[in-house]
Symmetry: C2
Subunit: 112 residues, 2 copies
DNA sequence: GTACTATACCTCGTACTTCGATGTATAGAG
DNA sequence: CTCTATACATCGAAGTACGAGGTATAGTAC
Protein backbone atom coordinates (compact mmCIF):
# COMPACT_ATOMS: atom_id res chain seq x y z
CA UNK A 1 0.00 0.00 0.00
CA UNK A 2 1.92 2.91 -1.40
CA UNK A 3 2.33 4.88 1.77
CA UNK A 4 1.05 8.25 0.59
CA UNK A 5 0.47 8.02 -3.14
CA UNK A 6 -2.91 6.72 -4.20
CA UNK A 7 -3.79 9.28 -6.79
CA UNK A 8 -6.90 7.76 -8.18
CA UNK A 9 -6.76 4.12 -7.24
CA UNK A 10 -9.76 3.40 -5.17
CA UNK A 11 -8.02 2.16 -2.05
CA UNK A 12 -11.54 1.60 -0.83
CA UNK A 13 -10.75 -1.65 0.99
CA UNK A 14 -7.94 0.05 2.91
CA UNK A 15 -10.20 2.97 3.78
CA UNK A 16 -13.02 0.75 5.02
CA UNK A 17 -10.71 -1.44 7.06
CA UNK A 18 -9.09 1.51 8.80
CA UNK A 19 -12.41 3.22 9.35
CA UNK A 20 -14.14 0.26 10.97
CA UNK A 21 -11.16 -0.75 13.05
CA UNK A 22 -10.78 2.82 14.26
CA UNK A 23 -14.22 2.45 15.80
CA UNK A 24 -13.38 -0.76 17.64
CA UNK A 25 -10.93 -3.62 17.66
CA UNK A 26 -12.00 -6.57 15.52
CA UNK A 27 -10.70 -9.79 14.04
CA UNK A 28 -10.67 -10.52 10.34
CA UNK A 29 -13.78 -12.57 9.97
CA UNK A 30 -15.75 -10.18 12.14
CA UNK A 31 -14.49 -7.23 10.11
CA UNK A 32 -15.66 -8.87 6.90
CA UNK A 33 -19.17 -9.14 8.31
CA UNK A 34 -19.03 -5.57 9.60
CA UNK A 35 -18.15 -4.25 6.15
CA UNK A 36 -21.10 -6.06 4.60
CA UNK A 37 -23.33 -4.71 7.35
CA UNK A 38 -22.41 -1.01 7.15
CA UNK A 39 -22.53 -1.02 3.39
CA UNK A 40 -25.74 -3.03 3.35
CA UNK A 41 -24.15 -5.74 1.22
CA UNK A 42 -23.03 -3.20 -1.38
CA UNK A 43 -19.42 -4.01 -0.63
CA UNK A 44 -18.12 -7.39 0.42
CA UNK A 45 -14.41 -7.77 0.96
CA UNK A 46 -13.40 -11.24 -0.12
CA UNK A 47 -10.86 -13.12 1.95
CA UNK A 48 -8.35 -12.76 -0.85
CA UNK A 49 -8.60 -9.02 -0.35
CA UNK A 50 -9.09 -8.78 3.37
CA UNK A 51 -6.31 -10.90 4.82
CA UNK A 52 -3.50 -9.70 2.57
CA UNK A 53 -4.65 -6.13 3.23
CA UNK A 54 -4.57 -6.63 6.99
CA UNK A 55 -1.07 -8.08 6.81
CA UNK A 56 0.13 -5.30 4.61
CA UNK A 57 -1.37 -2.66 6.89
CA UNK A 58 0.24 -4.27 9.90
CA UNK A 59 3.57 -4.39 8.12
CA UNK A 60 3.27 -0.68 7.35
CA UNK A 61 2.66 0.06 11.01
CA UNK A 62 -0.91 1.22 10.49
CA UNK A 63 -2.42 -1.68 12.40
CA UNK A 64 -1.33 -3.65 15.43
CA UNK A 65 -2.23 -7.33 15.67
CA UNK A 66 -2.94 -9.42 18.73
CA UNK A 67 -3.68 -13.14 18.65
CA UNK A 68 -6.25 -14.58 21.00
CA UNK A 69 -7.63 -18.06 21.58
CA UNK A 70 -11.39 -18.10 21.77
CA UNK A 71 -13.18 -21.42 22.16
CA UNK A 72 -10.55 -23.49 20.44
CA UNK A 73 -10.21 -21.04 17.56
CA UNK A 74 -7.45 -18.57 16.94
CA UNK A 75 -8.51 -15.05 16.25
CA UNK A 76 -6.27 -12.20 15.21
CA UNK A 77 -7.53 -8.90 16.57
CA UNK A 78 -6.46 -5.65 14.98
CA UNK A 79 -6.50 -2.09 16.18
CA UNK A 80 -5.38 1.12 14.53
CA UNK A 81 -2.11 2.81 15.47
CA UNK A 82 -1.55 6.54 15.63
CA UNK A 83 0.06 6.35 12.21
CA UNK A 84 -2.97 4.43 11.03
CA UNK A 85 -5.28 7.19 12.19
CA UNK A 86 -3.29 9.76 10.31
CA UNK A 87 -3.48 7.57 7.23
CA UNK A 88 -7.23 7.22 7.73
CA UNK A 89 -7.60 10.99 7.85
CA UNK A 90 -5.63 11.34 4.67
CA UNK A 91 -7.58 8.63 2.86
CA UNK A 92 -10.88 10.09 3.99
CA UNK A 93 -10.15 13.56 2.68
CA UNK A 94 -8.72 12.07 -0.48
CA UNK A 95 -11.87 10.01 -0.99
CA UNK A 96 -14.13 13.03 -0.47
CA UNK A 97 -12.07 15.04 -2.92
CA UNK A 98 -12.35 12.40 -5.61
CA UNK A 99 -16.00 11.64 -4.90
CA UNK A 100 -16.92 15.33 -5.14
CA UNK A 101 -14.99 15.65 -8.39
CA UNK A 102 -16.69 12.63 -9.93
CA UNK A 103 -20.11 13.87 -8.85
CA UNK A 104 -19.39 17.19 -10.50
CA UNK A 105 -18.52 15.43 -13.73
CA UNK A 106 -21.62 13.25 -13.57
CA UNK A 107 -23.81 16.27 -12.86
CA UNK A 108 -22.75 17.65 -16.21
CA UNK A 109 -20.07 19.77 -17.83
CA UNK A 110 -22.33 22.82 -17.70
CA UNK A 111 -21.01 23.50 -14.21
CA UNK A 112 -17.43 23.65 -15.39
CA UNK B 1 -11.41 -2.82 -19.57
CA UNK B 2 -13.21 -5.80 -18.13
CA UNK B 3 -16.45 -5.52 -20.01
CA UNK B 4 -18.87 -5.78 -17.11
CA UNK B 5 -16.90 -6.72 -14.00
CA UNK B 6 -15.35 -3.87 -12.05
CA UNK B 7 -16.37 -4.84 -8.57
CA UNK B 8 -14.52 -2.28 -6.58
CA UNK B 9 -11.77 -1.01 -8.81
CA UNK B 10 -12.26 2.65 -9.26
CA UNK B 11 -12.60 2.68 -13.02
CA UNK B 12 -12.88 6.42 -12.52
CA UNK B 13 -10.89 7.35 -15.63
CA UNK B 14 -13.14 5.21 -17.81
CA UNK B 15 -16.23 6.73 -16.23
CA UNK B 16 -15.03 10.30 -16.70
CA UNK B 17 -13.98 9.70 -20.28
CA UNK B 18 -17.31 8.19 -21.26
CA UNK B 19 -19.27 10.83 -19.39
CA UNK B 20 -17.54 13.81 -20.98
CA UNK B 21 -17.50 12.33 -24.45
CA UNK B 22 -21.20 11.50 -24.15
CA UNK B 23 -21.79 15.23 -23.83
CA UNK B 24 -19.85 16.13 -26.95
CA UNK B 25 -17.21 14.81 -29.30
CA UNK B 26 -13.65 15.69 -28.27
CA UNK B 27 -10.06 14.84 -29.06
CA UNK B 28 -7.64 13.52 -26.47
CA UNK B 29 -5.83 16.67 -25.49
CA UNK B 30 -9.08 18.58 -25.27
CA UNK B 31 -10.60 15.86 -23.13
CA UNK B 32 -7.68 16.04 -20.72
CA UNK B 33 -8.32 19.75 -20.23
CA UNK B 34 -12.06 19.15 -19.87
CA UNK B 35 -11.49 16.63 -17.09
CA UNK B 36 -9.32 19.09 -15.20
CA UNK B 37 -11.95 21.76 -15.71
CA UNK B 38 -15.04 19.85 -14.52
CA UNK B 39 -13.23 18.45 -11.54
CA UNK B 40 -11.62 21.79 -10.73
CA UNK B 41 -8.15 20.30 -10.95
CA UNK B 42 -9.05 17.58 -8.45
CA UNK B 43 -8.50 14.96 -11.11
CA UNK B 44 -5.97 15.15 -13.89
CA UNK B 45 -5.71 12.23 -16.27
CA UNK B 46 -2.09 11.88 -17.31
CA UNK B 47 -1.34 11.01 -20.90
CA UNK B 48 -0.15 7.59 -19.80
CA UNK B 49 -3.67 6.96 -18.57
CA UNK B 50 -5.71 8.85 -21.13
CA UNK B 51 -4.42 7.59 -24.46
CA UNK B 52 -4.22 3.90 -23.59
CA UNK B 53 -7.72 4.17 -22.13
CA UNK B 54 -9.07 5.76 -25.29
CA UNK B 55 -7.53 3.04 -27.44
CA UNK B 56 -8.85 0.34 -25.20
CA UNK B 57 -12.34 1.83 -25.19
CA UNK B 58 -12.29 2.10 -28.95
CA UNK B 59 -11.16 -1.50 -29.24
CA UNK B 60 -14.04 -2.57 -27.03
CA UNK B 61 -16.47 -0.75 -29.26
CA UNK B 62 -17.44 1.81 -26.65
CA UNK B 63 -15.91 4.72 -28.57
CA UNK B 64 -15.60 5.56 -32.24
CA UNK B 65 -12.53 7.45 -33.45
CA UNK B 66 -12.24 9.90 -36.32
CA UNK B 67 -8.97 11.55 -37.39
CA UNK B 68 -8.99 15.16 -38.54
CA UNK B 69 -6.30 17.57 -39.70
CA UNK B 70 -6.56 20.96 -38.01
CA UNK B 71 -3.92 23.59 -38.74
CA UNK B 72 -1.13 21.16 -39.52
CA UNK B 73 -1.89 19.01 -36.50
CA UNK B 74 -3.60 15.67 -36.38
CA UNK B 75 -6.42 15.32 -33.93
CA UNK B 76 -8.27 12.14 -33.09
CA UNK B 77 -11.88 12.86 -32.21
CA UNK B 78 -13.88 10.39 -30.19
CA UNK B 79 -17.57 9.91 -29.67
CA UNK B 80 -19.53 7.38 -27.67
CA UNK B 81 -21.27 4.45 -29.32
CA UNK B 82 -24.60 2.99 -28.23
CA UNK B 83 -22.71 0.26 -26.44
CA UNK B 84 -20.60 2.95 -24.80
CA UNK B 85 -23.70 4.66 -23.48
CA UNK B 86 -24.94 1.46 -21.95
CA UNK B 87 -21.56 0.97 -20.34
CA UNK B 88 -21.68 4.55 -19.05
CA UNK B 89 -25.05 3.90 -17.45
CA UNK B 90 -23.73 0.79 -15.79
CA UNK B 91 -20.59 2.51 -14.52
CA UNK B 92 -22.59 5.45 -13.22
CA UNK B 93 -24.96 3.34 -11.17
CA UNK B 94 -22.06 1.22 -9.99
CA UNK B 95 -20.20 4.34 -8.88
CA UNK B 96 -23.20 5.69 -6.99
CA UNK B 97 -23.68 2.37 -5.27
CA UNK B 98 -20.08 2.25 -4.09
CA UNK B 99 -19.96 5.93 -3.18
CA UNK B 100 -23.11 5.62 -1.08
CA UNK B 101 -21.72 2.56 0.65
CA UNK B 102 -18.43 4.26 1.46
CA UNK B 103 -20.21 7.34 2.77
CA UNK B 104 -22.29 5.13 5.04
CA UNK B 105 -19.14 3.57 6.42
CA UNK B 106 -17.48 6.96 6.93
CA UNK B 107 -20.58 8.31 8.66
CA UNK B 108 -20.13 5.67 11.28
CA UNK B 109 -21.04 2.09 12.13
CA UNK B 110 -23.91 3.29 14.34
CA UNK B 111 -26.08 3.27 11.22
CA UNK B 112 -25.38 -0.39 10.57
C1' DG C 1 17.03 32.42 -36.06
C1' DT C 2 16.37 30.22 -32.19
C1' DA C 3 14.86 28.93 -27.90
C1' DC C 4 10.83 28.07 -25.36
C1' DT C 5 6.09 26.86 -24.59
C1' DA C 6 1.79 24.82 -25.98
C1' DT C 7 -0.39 21.59 -28.77
C1' DA C 8 -1.07 16.76 -30.06
C1' DC C 9 -0.22 12.21 -30.44
C1' DC C 10 1.94 7.77 -28.73
C1' DT C 11 4.23 3.61 -26.00
C1' DC C 12 6.78 1.18 -22.60
C1' DG C 13 7.87 -0.80 -18.17
C1' DT C 14 6.57 -0.83 -13.54
C1' DA C 15 3.94 -1.04 -9.52
C1' DC C 16 -0.01 -1.74 -7.20
C1' DT C 17 -4.65 -3.46 -6.30
C1' DT C 18 -8.02 -6.62 -6.47
C1' DC C 19 -10.02 -11.08 -7.56
C1' DG C 20 -11.17 -15.96 -7.50
C1' DA C 21 -9.71 -20.32 -6.29
C1' DT C 22 -7.88 -23.19 -3.10
C1' DG C 23 -6.16 -24.92 1.26
C1' DT C 24 -6.14 -25.91 6.39
C1' DA C 25 -8.52 -26.72 10.69
C1' DT C 26 -12.03 -26.46 14.53
C1' DA C 27 -16.90 -26.15 16.43
C1' DG C 28 -21.52 -27.07 16.33
C1' DA C 29 -26.00 -28.59 14.30
C1' DG C 30 -28.90 -32.04 12.34
C1' DC D 1 -21.03 -38.26 10.41
C1' DT D 2 -21.83 -34.92 7.30
C1' DC D 3 -22.64 -30.24 6.44
C1' DT D 4 -22.28 -25.45 7.54
C1' DA D 5 -20.15 -21.66 9.87
C1' DT D 6 -16.10 -19.98 11.80
C1' DA D 7 -11.31 -18.54 11.21
C1' DC D 8 -7.10 -18.16 9.28
C1' DA D 9 -4.05 -18.07 5.06
C1' DT D 10 -1.69 -17.96 0.22
C1' DC D 11 -1.16 -18.05 -4.75
C1' DG D 12 -1.49 -16.83 -9.49
C1' DA D 13 -3.93 -14.11 -12.72
C1' DA D 14 -5.88 -10.04 -14.37
C1' DG D 15 -6.68 -5.43 -14.48
C1' DT D 16 -5.53 -0.39 -13.55
C1' DA D 17 -2.98 3.49 -13.27
C1' DC D 18 1.34 5.95 -13.31
C1' DG D 19 5.62 8.20 -14.65
C1' DA D 20 8.96 8.68 -17.94
C1' DG D 21 10.13 9.09 -22.34
C1' DG D 22 9.52 9.80 -27.46
C1' DT D 23 7.93 12.32 -31.90
C1' DA D 24 6.44 16.40 -34.26
C1' DT D 25 4.20 20.99 -35.42
C1' DA D 26 2.85 25.92 -34.37
C1' DG D 27 3.35 30.10 -32.26
C1' DT D 28 5.70 33.53 -29.27
C1' DA D 29 9.50 36.02 -27.34
C1' DC D 30 14.04 37.46 -27.55
Amino acid sequence: MGDAKALLMSGVPELLILRLLAEREMYGYELARAVRAVTREAISLGEGVLYPALHSLELSGLLRARRRQVGGRTRVYYNVTAKGRRRLEYLTSHWRRIATAVEAALAGPQHA
